[in-house]
């Protein structure tokens, strides 16, 4: 009896040690950058935590403008792709029409094609239309990418939604759009919220597309602004770290607030894919 509880206790203790080590490994880079951001910018300045670095990064580092651009792009991509993905997902999930299989496989292809493959021709085409260096060049390519995942995601929801409810509504004379708008979408809020959060994260963190499309400093998104800021300073400055914290914060905040949605969404999205 005592030997058994002893071995369980030992197992539990070693379990905690291993988990703590793994947790420390996962947290260390994040903690490091937060602490660097709070260090005095100039050597010899007084100790303590220097929150003014964030204000300095916001103003002098221009991160206020970068974050604003990212917000505009992310909100636009999220709104447009959520609406369009609901419409396409509804059609693929509840209706039969010739060509639906081929069209759906095309969308699946879009989920697998890396943005590297489309970004080069896209740049030259948009340049000839004089559309590089614009929000349009950031928003629509990302809507196209998110739409592939979003359609796939919403289709799965619409297929799983109870057919009885739909049948009952149809008996009552509700049209297809009313069924979508006032029955299925309100019922599917969890699915929509998860999709919105994932698309927000992907859009906010996107780097290659703005790197290629944007030359105008006033239009830089947060990751691009940070990368350029890095180019001007040496490693380890607190201003750079403060900027980095500001750039990562929105997605991390959403993650911490809704991590169950987030993790479940990423797993289900991946497993179904």
């Amino acid at each position: 009896m005592s030997a058994r509880t002893g071995s369980i206790r030992l197992e539990r203790a070693s379990g905690y040690v291993i988990l703590a080590l793994a947790g420390a490994f996962a947290l260390y880079p994040v903690v490091l950058i937060v602490f660097t951001a709070l260090r005095p910018e100039t050597v010899g300045a007084s100790g303590g935590l220097h929150f003014e670095n964030f204000a300095a990064a916001w103003e002098e580092g221009n991160f206020g403008s970068y974050l604003g651009n990212s917000a505009i792009v992310a909100v636009s991509v999220v709104l447009i792709s959520a609406v369009l993905a609901s419409l396409t997902g509804y059609a693929f999930g509840t209706m039969r029409f010739p060509g639906s299989n081929v069209l759906f496989y095309l969308l699946l292809l879009g989920m697998m094609v890396p943005s590297e493959a489309v970004v080069v021709p896209l740049y030259f085409d948009l340049r000839s239309l004089d559309l590089t260096n614009s929000y349009v060049s950031l928003i629509f390519p990302q809507v196209a990418q998110s739409l592939a995942f979003g359609t796939f995601w919403m289709r799965a929801y619409f297929r799983s939604a109870s057919r009885d409810v739909v049948e009952a509504a149809r008996m009552d004379g509700a049209g297809h759009f009313r069924i979508l708008w006032s029955i299925l979408l309100p019922m599917g809020r969890p699915a929509v919220i998860t999709m919105v959060m994932l698309v927000f994260m992907w859009t906010w963190n996107e780097f290659l597309l703005p790197l290629v499309m944007i030359q105008d400093e006033a239009l830089r998104t947060a990751p691009l602004g940070l990368s350029n800021f890095k180019g001007q300073y040496t490693a380890g400055t607190s201003l750079l770290a403060a900027g980095a914290v500001l750039v990562a914060l929105p997605v991390v905040a959403v993650y911490v607030a809704a991590q169950r949605h987030f993790i479940r969404g990423m797993i289900e999205g991946a497993v179904r894919g």
Partner: protein, 314 residues
């Protein structure tokens, strides 16, 4: 065989159609998918078609392109400057895929065992949240944090010196021998939490009685996991492989921000080479060819893994 009254048969058929995929035929479906497909076609399919077209040209992005047939494709297999990015990808695969899957599985086994024995490791939800965090941090930020860690007088070298291992201190991302593994380790950091969470979800579906019966047979923790847990994870392993392999093949942000492909060409990867050729070297044709090959490799890997996993399921 008893024949059914026709009405029942008809109802059955109707029921089957209702419960199966898509409902009744509707032309209005095209209206629903039209706006989405216009954007998808314009900003995904058309550029892809254009990429194929451009791959047959030598073009600097400004002047008139020259038709070169399949030369760009031939170059990938003969030009070592084009081959080495893919070789580097293979090295990254070990760090992005193999290591996170092994570590993630060990941690998931540990955490699931705590639940199944009732020896109750507490705070598992907290550890899950922490370990998954690297997945959501902007990669440019991740790159900046790790650049500091790898700096000549950064925390990693300080730790080694404090342990009296001065000889092991390196410039890491500044030395050609170490730069690629150093980037790879960041991939390990990013991917482990994802694998862990996938495997935890898989293990949570294993009925507790299976563990108990294995334990009654005298299986230790490791054997118990190998006999009960591992077989249940086949699908999750396939998903983890797909996601991490695609992430490894698509590495761009980390390399661009941490090393710029250097020192020399020690850390060039396909995506970085695509960017560099198209926008710095003025070799658009060669860049899109590389991008298309990368796409083909990603598609092939995804399909192959899915096939193997489904085949094993049968």
């Amino acid at each position: 065989m008893v024949s059914e009254p026709p009405a029942v048969g008809a109802r059955r058929r109707a029921g089957r159609r209702g419960s199966g995929p898509p409902g009744e035929p509707r032309a209005v479906a095209y209206l629903y998918i039209l706006p989405g497909f216009l954007i998808f076609a314009g900003f995904m399919l058309w550029p892809l078609v254009r990429a194929v077209g451009l791959s047959f040209y030598e073009w600097d992005g400004l002047s008139l392109g020259v038709w070169v047939g399949l030369d760009n494709y031939r170059a990938v297999f003969t030009d070592p400057g084009l081959r080495s990015p893919f070789v580097h990808s293979l090295v990254l695969l070990a760090f992005y895929s193999a290591v996170p899957i092994v570590i993630g599985m060990a941690l998931a086994g540990l955490m699931a065992r705590g639940v199944s024995t009732g020896s109750g490791l507490r705070g598992l939800g907290f550890f899950r949240t922490v370990l998954f965090l690297p997945q959501v941090v902007t990669l440019v930020v991740v790159a900046i944090a790790w650049r500091d860690i790898y700096a000549p007088d950064g925390p990693l070298n300080e730790l080694l010196r404090a342990l009296g291992l001065d000889a092991l201190a390196h410039a890491w991302i500044g030395e050609s021998d170490y730069a690629l593994p150093a980037v790879g380790l960041v991939g390990t950091w990013v991917g482990t939490g994802l694998c862990l969470v996938l495997f935890l979800a898989g293990l949570s579906k294993v009925p507790r009685e299976l563990y108990e019966s294995a334990r009654l047979d005298g299986a230790g923790p490791v054997r118990e996991f190998l006999v009960v847990g591992l077989p249940a994870l086949r699908g999750e392993i396939a998903v983890a492989l797909t996601l991490t392999i695609v992430a490894a093949l698509r590495t761009f942000d980390l390399v661009y921000v941490m090393t710029g492909g250097g020192p020399g060409t020690a850390t060039t990867v396909p995506s970085y080479e695509v960017y560099k050729r198209a926008f710095q070297d003025g070799e658009v044709g060669s860049a899109v060819t590389l991008a298309l090959l990368l796409t083909a490799v990603i598609l092939a890997a995804t399909i192959a893994i899915t096939r193997v996993a489904e085949g094993a399921d049968r």
